[in-house]
Symmetry: C2
Subunit: 386 residues, 2 copies
């Protein structure tokens, strides 16, 4: 077990009706709120009206229409607005894209130059506006972490920024707010969670406590995703998925581990070039990555995975057992309706070398669970084609 620091001062308000606590909680931060949201589904569901009514005592400015894989242009616009209007806090109502964009705006408000500098490292995050969240999809875990992923479609880059000031002060997790999430997005969210958990589970450092928790959270995703797909208003299923999304990425599963990821960096290249849904891309890549890295060295971990996550009873041959676990993973993603190949996204191999080069460089994949070079990543991507 490695040394670690773990501190997550985010106030989680979980359950139906928890939005009602927002006025009291938010008034500690001031009066001027920037309300951020995505494509407007919150207007259809009534959540927008509900929040506006609840927050009638605050002065509210709005930034709607935040797109999936949020763009740096939007961040610059938002930061300018925050400075001009003297915004006190940001209330992000949505999923990972809205929250990540809001985090980047919160930091960019205190940065004079192009917000993209905060992603490339040219500029430094020094502080950020306080952020509150009303989560509307269980997926990225951004509601309880310190990171944001922002895209620059001009340079085909999708980069990560992280800073303790980006941790939301308050996150309202009301499972009812995810009842309206369509099947494909629900499934993609689950694939994203599964991948977050697997990124820390398959790690150069084994640590019993976080790994046992990871196994439990993966079983939660496996159990409740089909239930939520069959009945989108099943409160218990939506609740277990929502809490899993937050716990999957708040640092708990990384305690004592190396924090070196693999699949996310490969997928980030796919969505940077092709703008596909992040979780769906992960579902296509992950099982192929598993097959590629299965070896004598990783065998025991994959056997644990097969037995403790998928409940496969041990077979005589360890490789058979490990492969059954990978089969189960692949079947699960297909069963919940996600594409199993890149062909289904209309992606061919024309940019694989380019993407592999960037994934290895940005993700430091030579230090991953199983070290990957550009050639390895190209091979994995080719396995994903069909």
């Amino acid at each position: 077990m490695n040394n670690f620091e773990f501190c997550v001062p985010c106030d989680i308000l979980f359950g139906e009706g928890q939005e009602e606590h927002l006025p009291e909680k938010l008034k500690a931060y001031g009066n001027k709120i920037l309300l951020t949201y995505g494509g407007g589904s919150i207007k259809k569901t009534g959540l927008y009206d509900k929040l506006k009514a609840l927050l009638h005592d605050f002065e509210i400015f709005e930034l709607g229409g935040i797109e999936p894989n949020p763009r740096v242009e939007r961040v610059n616009d938002g930061a300018k607005l925050c400075r001009e209007k003297g915004i006190d806090m940001i209330l992000a109502v949505g999923g990972g894209s809205t929250i990540d964009c809001s985090k980047a705006i919160a930091a960019a408000t205190f940065y004079e130059g192009d917000a993209w500098d905060l992603l490339t490292g040219i500029g430094q995050i020094t502080k950020a506006l306080p952020i509150a969240v009303v989560l509307t999809i269980a997926a990225t875990g951004s509601e309880m972490d310190c990171a944001a992923v922002i895209s620059n479609m001009q340079t085909n880059e999708k980069l990560l920024m992280g800073h303790p000031a980006l941790l939301p002060k308050i996150s309202v997790l009301n499972p009812e707010n995810t009842f309206s999430v369509p099947a494909y997005q629900t499934a993609s969210g689950s694939a994203d969670m599964m991948s977050h958990i697997m990124e820390s589970y398959f790690d150069t450092v084994d640590a019993f406590v976080p790994d046992a928790i990871s196994e439990g959270l993966m079983r939660a995703v496996i159990k409740y995703t089909p239930i939520a797909l069959a009945d989108p208003e099943d409160y218990e299923a939506r609740a277990q998925l929502m809490w899993t999304s937050s716990l999957a990425l708040n640092g708990l599963l990384e305690t004592g581990k190396s924090f070196m990821w693999s699949c996310h960096y490969i997928e980030h290249e796919l969505s940077a070039y092709y703008d596909i849904t992040h979780g769906a891309g992960l579902a296509a890549i992950t099982p192929k990555w598993m097959r590629y890295i299965l070896s004598d060295k990783t065998l025991d971990k994959f056997c644990d995975f097969a037995v403790n996550v998928w409940g496969i009873t041990s077979s005589e041959d360890k490789f058979k057992l490990a492969n059954k676990g990978i089969d189960a993973t692949e079947d699960f993603f297909r069963r919940i309706g996600l594409p199993a190949t890149l062909k289904e996204f209309g992606i061919d191999d024309s940019r694989f070398e380019q993407m592999a080069k960037k994934a290895v460089a940005i993700g430091h994949l030579e230090g991953a669970y199983v070290p990957l070079n550009e050639e390895d990543v190209v091979k994995i991507l080719k396995m994903c084609l069909a």
Copy 2:
């Protein structure tokens, strides 16, 4: 799953050498530290000298000799000292007793009357001095929670106080600081953790995510306690136990559940009257409590417990399976060297009615997982005799 609020702004510094970060972290809170500790084992291990050297820039006052099951008299003394010397923060170096006593002092410093009022509810906790912890035994979880248990031997009462201000700001969890914990205390600590986990696992509300995490943490205790007993300097075993102790009681396992406990309230009466080691008392009570409450209604949960925690392969008869899980629990406590009966503590049935009455009243046991009245508690205590 019930609604819940979860917010744990405690900065965990985990691993060898983490004490070195204390000077930098503590200076945010001022200059005058009250250093609290127990019987002086920290002087034998060298931890006392190490901390004094590290904190040479601070003005340090001391309150040593804090006894197990800390007494209210000590709390009053400490609070008086804090007021007189204008203490800025408390650094508790020890286990649950030292930390709980320090928490109570931190709150009592801002209360004019007898500190016992804060336990009985006559007085209210309004604020507390900041508390930092260097943990020296994995057991109570007090290093990452908001509660403290204080004893009053004159009234034979052992009561709980809780307030967000009692959450330590910083907790240093260096597994090496537990290498010197004797076998009996190590085992008692593990029994305490197991009980904390079981108190929330066996609950009127089932919730997949916290319950799956609970199962993982119980498996950690079961796996690593014998290893730590066999080799007290096994870093990995001490590390897994230490992190488990904190996660077992920081609120995570209670998320969405009812937070109604049983065995702890019964055991508190034992240690209030007989001053026995808390974890050891729990080890004697818990399996008997399990046998007493096993019924058609609780059967499925006990089967989950047998299969998911103890790895018992399902038998045809569910009651047989459930009992095998309880047997395994009993065997485990015996195997790690803890008394299986109250006789071994020299406790007879002379005060059972009195204790049962208080346990039911203080613990609101009529609202527990399986409701218990005074008669039930007396029966359970009698089962524990031999």
